[in-house]
């Protein structure tokens, strides 16, 4: 099979095409979908998923996982409220919160790479731990009186137009992560680790150190999203973002990243996030109930795990036949 053909039938191109199709169909057939205000709403809805998905993609490519991200977000949000109540300035709190998120990542990274524990077990543990700490910090209460120029920036658009302010942030970070993952030796080493960690180690890649920093970055991004989440809803709460880790992992897998590591691309993941968000938004505008929404997204996920395997099998079959034909000639 030619290289171009292979690329066209790869899962991330399929998902890209599917996303564009959904966007076109929804704009044509769903009332109020294609408006600039709805665009702003959608960008705000996909903001937390897309940002956390950036480092998550790298982590899953190396064959690991980080399930503690939503709890890190909650802890950061709690800390943000608590620090604000202590009278610190918001300009101090925001970088501090990113650092708090990074520290959560340091703990994960140390347990996984320093002690060699499996990432699934560790991050399920810290998922509970960080959420628990979040409730210790703020309890059931909420802190809401954040400065309007900050909360307004997160929900606002550039010059009151159609482009949300946070879109700049998404584009800059996505470009940054995309370049690192797809155009640097570091990025390539992630695929090597995911394909075979031992081989990667013997070929001189510092596997443990690489993974450690991925978790630190993942924590820091979760911290940043904690800040953005708090400002978007002007509400610092311990239960903020609960369950978000599943949405992120879902989007990453839908984007064609293999849960076993070694495979996947960032453009595919970005398309996956957009597809999920746009579908939910369109179905909601059509008054489809929440349960039905869950069924749709659930089925998409099962398909996203199933279809790439089927296409690989079909492709393998095709290749064998060609080989046989060549041999018989």
């Amino acid at each position: 099979m030619s290289e171009a053909r292979k690329r066209l039938t790869s899962w991330d191109s399929i998902i890209l095409v599917l996303t564009v199709l959904v966007l076109i169909i929804a704009s044509l057939s769903v009332d109020n979908f294609g408006t600039s205000r709805n665009f702003t709403f959608m960008v705000l809805d996909l903001l937390p998923i897309i940002l956390i998905a950036l480092p998550m993609t790298m982590i899953i490519v190396t064959g690991e996982i980080d399930l503690s991200v939503a709890s890190t977000l909650g802890l950061t949000s709690s800390m943000m409220g608590w620090l604000w109540n202590q009278g610190l300035s918001i300009e101090t709190i925001i970088p501090l919160c990113v650092v708090i998120g990074a520290i959560c990542g340091v703990v994960n990274g140390f347990l996984i790479t320093g002690l060699g524990l499996p990432s699934l077990a560790v991050t399920i543990g810290t998922l509970a731990l960080y959420r628990g700490l979040a409730f210790v910090v703020l309890g059931d209460g909420a802190v809401a009186d954040f400065p309007w120029n900050y909360t307004g920036w997160v929900t606002g658009t550039i010059g009151g137009g159609a482009v949300p302010n946070v879109l700049i942030l998404i584009v800059v970070l996505a470009l940054l992560f995309g370049i690192v993952q797809h155009a640097t030796p570091f990025g390539r080493s992630l695929y090597a680790i995911g394909a075979n960690a031992q081989a990667a180690h013997f070929s001189g890649i510092r596997v443990a150190r690489t993974k450690f920093w991925l978790y630190v970055v993942s924590g820091a991004v979760a911290g940043l999203v904690g800040v953005l989440w708090t400002l978007r809803y002007s509400s610092a709460r311990a239960d903020n973002g609960s369950g978000l880790e599943l949405a992120v992992v879902a989007a990453v897998l839908l984007g064609g990243v293999s849960i076993f590591g070694g495979k996947g691309s960032l453009p595919g993941v970005l398309a996956g996030v957009v597809l999920l968000t746009a579908l939910q938004n369109a179905l909601r505008l059509e008054d489809v109930s929440g349960q039905a929404l869950n069924i749709v997204t659930g089925s998409l996920l099962v398909l996203s795990v199933l279809l790439p395997n089927i296409t690989t099998a079909v492709r393998g079959n095709y290749q064998r036949r060609r080989l046989r034909q060549a041999a018989s000639r």
Partner: protein, 358 residues
């Protein structure tokens, strides 16, 4: 990675340094003057305006498929039908703080006329509710209020004062002329609404009318059926002379009544408080419970729909003192901060309980 603690240390300290530097002269809680207040109703009310037909009125409860809110929104549907409007019910599957926001955004896109919402978090919904109001949608809250600068009116099921007084009054009636020991079986120790009702009740008990009542204990069943049952049991072991258990929670009153009805205390110890008629029916019929109270949740939704329609038709703007008619419930007056109080709780006895199904 352990080879690079120095890198980590320097990164962290650099971040802290930046943080420390920006600490001087930043925006703090004290310097923060919140300028983002909501749009205030500016148009004048016209009490004689006719109710518009075909109003699109959407209900957004805290969470779908909750029996209590189903009854509330059911009342809303009845009202919207009477008003010849278009009823819609949407809502999240979980009651988390931010899950309602995308539903509000959808309702804005669909250009509803009225959004009736029970806010999961008073502030998390505010930016979107204000966007809705900017899009000329009237916002009515029920059940749990949003911050008052992002909604037009709030339907309050009953005042804290009213519920506390009602609890004290029912306790006295149940204890009889001789009075005696009473105990409270509440939800969790930090449930805000329960605690404020109990506070009012305690204030009431200080009045001379209640001199014969003695509150011996406030127990907590954590709104858990089994725990509440055990707490009721414990109360009677510790206070054998107890006359009345007052449970201001629907879980507590049902568990308490179940224990009393199955024990030797049946007929000697009274159970009262706030409960759902469907849960309490058998205990009222078997004589364990003679009277309990609750607001009628269907009336809350009914009143909310009428308030929303009156507002969308220009009869009222949400200002204090304005009046409007709410169908079978009669006339209501808007109170301070746009609050509309449904009225005193409905009392249920064996004579009227069969008229209620919720």
């Amino acid at each position: 990675m352990l080879r690079s603690p120095r890198t980590l240390l320097s990164v962290t300290s650099a971040a802290l340094l930046v943080a420390g530097l920006t600490a001087c002269g930043g925006t703090t809680k004290d310097s923060n003057t919140n300028s983002g207040s909501g749009t205030q109703a500016s148009a004048a009310a016209d009490p004689n305006a006719a109710i518009k037909e075909g109003l699109k009125i959407a209900f957004l409860p805290k969470q779908l498929n909750n029996p209590y809110s189903d009854v509330e929104t059911g009342g809303g549907k009845v009202a919207v039908d009477e008003l010849k409007g278009e009823y819609k019910l949407v809502g999240p599957n979980d009651a988390s703080a931010s899950s309602q926001v995308s539903y509000i955004n959808t309702l804005i896109q669909q250009q509803q006329d009225v959004i009736v919402v029970a806010a999961n978090d008073p502030n998390a919904v505010c930016p979107s509710l204000n966007q809705a109001r900017a899009a000329k949608i009237k916002v009515i809250t029920f059940d749990s209020d949003a911050s008052k600068d992002c909604r037009d009116a709030f339907i309050n099921q009953a005042t804290t004062q009213g519920i506390g007084e009602s609890l004290a009054k029912m306790a006295l009636e149940q204890a009889g002329a001789d009075g005696g020991e009473i105990a409270v079986l509440s939800a969790t120790p930090n449930a805000t609404n329960q605690n404020s009702w109990i506070e009012v009740m305690k204030e009431e008990l200080k009045k001379p009318d209640y001199a014969k009542l003695k509150l011996v204990k406030v127990a907590y069943g954590n709104d858990d059926d089994q725990k509440s049952f055990q707490e009721a049991q414990g109360l009677l072991q510790s206070y054998p002379n107890l006359k009345v258990i007052v449970a201001p929670t629907t879980v507590g009153i049902a568990a308490g009544a179940r224990y009393i009805s199955s024990s030797s205390y049946k007929g000697k110890v009274a159970v009262t408080g706030l409960g759902l008629p469907n849960q309490m029916r058998e205990y009222v019929k078997d004589g364990t419970v003679t009277k309990f109270a609750l607001w009628n949740p269907a009336d809350i939704g009914y009143l909310a729909a009428f308030a929303g329609a009156a507002m969308a038709s220009g009869q009222i703007t949400g200002a204090e003192g304005e009046k409007f008619k709410a169908g079978k419930l009669g006339e209501y007056t808007i109170g301070k901060d746009g609050e509309i109080v449904l009225g005193p709780p409905t009392e249920f006895t064996k004579d009227n309980i069969d008229q209620f199904n919720f």
